[in-house]
């Protein structure tokens, strides 16, 4: 819907449980390009950033995501997101 030519923008990304361990970080702020529209796009881009990301996202089916602290599916649009989180299926209780 938005006009093309979006500048890159900053988004905060958080990792929990074994995604935190595999990526080696719990939080980072990244610059993402205008071509990255959905959670899936973001995962694909993150995997290209290095072997630790490649390992963390090797089985995308076991990774869950949240945008601004709300559960979302992998096809969710990330426009406007301030904080995106990746984590395994939850195991509390």
């Amino acid at each position: 819907m938005t006009a093309s030519g979006n500048p890159t923008r900053q988004v905060s990304i958080r990792y929990f449980a074994w995604l935190r361990e595999k990526t080696g970080r719990s939080e980072e702020t990244v610059e993402i390009g205008p071509g990255i529209l959905t959670i899936s796009d973001l995962v694909t881009w993150l995997r290209s950033r290095g072997p630790e990301y490649e390992a963390a996202f090797a089985s995308p089916g076991t990774v869950r995501a949240a945008i601004d602290m709300t559960h979302v599916k992998s096809d969710a649009k990330i426009s406007g997101a301030r904080e995106i989180a990746f984590f395994p299926p939850v195991t509390g209780g």
Binding site: F16, M69, A85, F87, P88, P89, V90, T91, G92, G93
Partner: protein, 153 residues
């Protein structure tokens, strides 16, 4: 109606008293306590560590609680979930539901646990007696348990 995420243990008597004192409309109080077991999948545990997503946890738990209050006409409710390292036998989670009648209190308590197990962003890591760590896998039966709440009661 309130939610807490904390390292320290809870006091079930004090929590129930806080919910029920002075409210004589309450005829039924259902509670659930989840505890760390000493063994999982045949492996003896030394400890279990609970990680969570601060902010999202409280938001999810509050949403779930609000849904339960409306759906089951609760007079009062409470969720306490612990985080950090826990030993076998220690408490993990407390859910309390108060209603006029037992069917609502029981149903709400099970509803809260089913949703908490599949929606609240907590993750358990087990440490075995030989020191090795292992992230607990989500159980399919927890996801399946949700389906019974899809139809209005």
């Amino acid at each position: 109606m309130s939610v807490s995420v904390e390292e320290k243990d809870f006091d079930i008597s004090a929590e129930i008293n806080a919910l029920t004192l002075g409210n004589t409309g309450i005829g039924a109080v259902a509670t659930f306590i989840g505890k760390v077991r000493g063994e999982a999948h045949g492996n003896k545990l030394q400890s279990m560590t609970l990680e969570h997503y601060p902010g999202m946890t409280e938001a999810e738990l509050s949403d779930i609680e609000q849904e339960a209050v409306m759906r089951f006409h609760l007079s009062a409710s409470r969720i306490v979930h612990r985080i950090g390292p826990l030993q076998p036998g220690e408490n993990i989670v407390l859910v309390i539901t108060c209603a006029a009648h037992r069917s609502d209190a029981f149903a709400a308590c099970e509803f809260l646990m089913d949703y908490l197990k599949t929606r609240a962003p907590f993750w358990k890591k087990e440490t075995g007696v030989t020191g090795e760590g292992r992230w607990v896998d989500a159980r399919e039966c927890d996801e399946a348990a949700l389906t019974r709440w899809l139809k209005p009661a």
